[in-house]
């Protein structure tokens, strides 16, 4: 599914969370390839740092790895859903394992999308498109 300009704002503020700097950089590159503004992409190397950033400035999308030290992706997701300001923030979960239990846990915690590493630009585009298409549908339905 391609990104639709009327649904996905290419100037959205995106937070990329991963403990591996290479992966953060890869995701950043993919996002830039998709037309997102590099200057609006922020990075965090674990859940705690991500939460601090989320509380200090507004974001439109969080792309987070699952497996991180200190605070994992699922813990970050739960914290986001508990936060008054962050509870409706779209979260795309990234994981190295195609694990059914993880997918269920993430769904129960309120994840918006789930992508398994390694993934292509087209896959990332599809996941982001689906997230914002669904959000647009639910907003128009409301």
């Amino acid at each position: 599914m391609k990104l639709r300009d009327d649904v996905v704002d290419k100037n959205m503020r995106i937070l990329v969370v991963d403990d591996f700097s290479t992966m953060r950089r890869i995701v950043r590159n993919l996002l830039v390839d998709l037309g997102f503004s590099s200057t609006l992409i922020q990075e965090a190397d674990d859940g705690n740092t991500a939460l601090s950033l989320l509380h200090s400035r507004p974001f439109d999308l969080v792309i987070t790895d699952w497996n991180m030290p200190a605070m994992s992706g699922i813990e970050l997701l739960r914290s986001i859903r508990e936060g008054e300001k962050t509870r409706s923030l779209p979260v795309l979960m990234v994981t190295a394992e195609n694990n059914r239990a993880q997918i269920i846990a993430a769904a129960e915690a309120g994840v918006n999308g789930f992508v398994v590493k390694p993934f292509s630009t087209a896959t990332l585009e599809d996941k982001i498109s689906r997230i914002f298409e669904r959000l647009a549908l639910s907003e128009s339905g409301a």
Binding site: F20, S21, T22, M23, R25, I26, K117
Partner: protein
Amino acid sequence: MNGEFHLAIDEGLPQQLRDLLDSADGPAFEQALDAMVQQRERRLFRLLGRLARDLHDALRRLGAELSNDDVAHVAADARQHLQDVLEISAQAAHRSLDFAERMRPDADALVEHANAVLERAVAGDPAVALARRALEFGLATRAALADMVLAQSWQDLSGQRIRKVGAFIASVESPLLELVRLTGRLAGEETPGRAAQMSSQADVDRLLAEFGS
């Protein structure tokens, strides 16, 4: 002794014992019974002694092998080696990403310029063929650079597994050290590996003698 019990004993015991049970010589019966019990005990102690000897030998070998490099340092070195691999692989992946990010604007510019030439070119212009080739090359390069960026995911995927191995080493490090200390104590020395090597056959034999071997 009732008849039912007498029958059960007769069927389950050796002929020698059955003969003694049937005889009226009480002291001879007790003497034979003691001899049989002692015989069984000796066999049990021999087995126990062999087991103790094998266990001691295994622990001594383990202690000697681990002591050669000092298990604490070996485990720490192993974890450090894994950390080195993580850092070196991350550096290599970042170098590839540097290259891709440096070349990407050039590829974009080539595509843009080639398109501009093609838009302005008139029929029969010899620059058209070159611009088309440049456009194809620019697009192919852009795609290849994107693939190269994606390919660096290996560092993250392998790195996560390396971290798991590091965590496993850290988890077995402490029990392993305790095992080496145990081998040292069994050999009667405080220093783990060295003590195991210093243990003598006499110590072993003395220990085994306590078991009747």
